[in-house]
Amino acid sequence: MEARSLPGSVLSYAATLFLLVTLNFFLPRAMPGDPIDALLSRSSTTYIDDENTRAELADYYGLDQPLLAQYGRYLGGLVRGDLGTSIRTNAPVRDALRDRLPWSLLLVGSATAAATVVGMVAGVHAGWRRGKRVDRGLLGVFLGLREFPTFLLGSLALFVFAVKLDWFPLAGARTPFAELSPVGQVADVAHHLVLPATVLAVGLAAGHYLVMRAGVVGELGADYLLLGRAKGLAERRLKYRYAARNALLPVVSLSAIQLGFAITGDILVERVFAYPGLGRLLFESIGARDYPVIQGCFLVTTVIVVSVNALADLLYRLLDPRTVG
């Protein structure tokens, strides 16, 4: 990892956030033919019929004002949490995001957790037995799964486990119109979650596996293991309590670094499983050319990714003082 000073690192993340917010403002306005304008002009095929929505849209983008004034208004709106109005539903974008975000967090969170645990355990196992058949087999499995496109894997999983075997539901995050007890509801949500979360986790586990394996391989010849062995400690204890523990740190920060991949995978997985999170909202909005919502999703996902990366970077410095440059 590149050693950067703390202020430099904070500055860099702040610059990325600023770039995101600014891109979100300028991109719609910089596009040839101005897509927003097309929504407002009567001669266009994408003309919005609803007068209320049109007024809201014109007001949100404020196209009649000078660019800098528009930018100022946009930033002011962001601070108040004003992300405009959806063209499709005529409801505030903020509300749509608030409804959908928890589902995405649940999906990405459980997939990341599962990927971390599975990747770590497999990585420790493979690293401990470096060069053996287990090691080579696991390497092939994880790398192969990682290269498999998420949407095909998702569709395949759906076909096999939901259609042919009928183990899991086909789509959605819970059974519609079902009246269930609180416990039943939790079970229902979990039942819907298994398949999409597993598909998402499969692509993420490879990273943890590789980093953990490399970490354990790096510890193999260490003196403390030799001493432990001389003391007669059990192999299990040496493996998990000693070697794995020392190789753990990079895996922790990898979870944050991989969040970008996780979001990408999440968008595709939600499309396959019709899971009602941000990715699904994004897909629906692409079809309707609902620009305010697309922009809202862009802003929320990217700001979360960059912030979590920044946090992980800071946390890493706290956990391992050696990384302070």
């Binding site: 860099s12 569709s155 968008i267 862009f298 960059v306």
Partner: protein, 282 residues
């Protein structure tokens, strides 16, 4: 498979390289010969809708009666075009922004390096979706955006290599004999950096194929074109796709084609790495 541990990874890497090259060779062949190989015009309505596989339509027809096999074959062409276009752009931008500032040094170098770090932290797909939906779905847009987003890692790698090459003996000697910056660049830097450029090109070709497919899959593909991602998008929007067998001859072939193309590039990239690295970093 032998049970004894293998310490030298080279033999397996070259096997990967051969397999990868064979896969890419067939992909290129299919793309080149698409007009000959495809039994129908992929856009023509050559049958009824949802025909099952038969002698006339080996993979059946889609919802509006287009031949699915012909679409898979022509899709190879679309994927390769995006792959080569986007990878060329990534490598060109990455080389320019990696090598030139590193040679000049000073504030410009620091600025570009910092910019690369800022860009590296941007999540790719959400940005692509935003730009793609605003600019309208077209292949040129997809290629352009992948190029703009992909340069930082390439530039970073080339910058560090350039900085280390700059201080090597043979460059200093060449400079000592009075050769100019451009001559040094052409005579010493480009040959030394070429392996990295090749690996970056191959890697990004594979990434670009995946990204193009993902965008088309989300509804941001050029609707007038024929591509694997578009096929998947259309197929998964079809009611009951999983229940009628359609899935097996519509979704699966397109999905496997994408997988094979991505894997081909990955194999070649992974297979090439150690050969090149030995020469430059030894």
């Amino acid at each position: 498979m032998s049970a004894e541990p293998r310490t030298d990874p080279r033999p397996r890497r070259s096997a990967l390289l051969v397999i990868g090259l064979a896969m890419l060779g067939s992909l290129a062949l299919v793309a080149l010969l698409a007009p000959v190989l495809a039994p129908y015009d992929p856009r023509a309505l050559s049958g009824d809708s949802f025909e099952r596989p038969s002698a006339e339509h080996l993979l059946g027809t889609n919802d509006i009666g287009q031949d699915i096999l012909s679409q898979v074959i022509w899709g190879a062409r679309a994927s390769l075009e995006v792959a080569l276009g986007a990878a060329s752009l990534v490598v060109a931008l990455g080389t320019f922004l990696g090598v030139v500032p590193a040679l000049i040094g000073g504030t410009l170098d620091r600025l570009v390096a910092r910019l690369a770090v800022v860009f590296l932290a941007l999540p790719v797909l959400p940005l692509l979706i935003l730009v793609g939906s605003l600019a309208g779905p077209s292949r040129v847009v997809v290629i352009g955006v992948i190029g703009v987003i992909g340069w930082p890692p390439v530039a970073r790698l080339l910058r560090s290599q350039t900085l280390s090459l700059r201080s090597r003996g043979f460059v200093a000697a060449s400079r000592g004999f009075g050769s100019g910056a451009l001559y040094v660049c052409r005579r010493h830097l480009v040959p030394a950096l070429a392996p990295f450029l090749v690996v970056a090109f191959v890697t990004w070709s594979g990434i670009a194929i995946g990204i193009e497919a993902a965008l088309a899959f989300l509804g941001l593909g050029d609707p007038t074109g024929v591509s694997w991602g578009l096929m998947l998008n259309r197929a998964l929007d079809t009611q009951g796709i999983y229940f009628s067998g359609l899935w097996t001859w519509w979704v699966l072939p397109a999905g496997l084609a994408i997988t094979a193309a991505v894997l081909g590039f990955t194999f070649v990239g992974v297979g090439l790495e150690p050969r090149f690295n030995r020469r430059v970093q030894a």
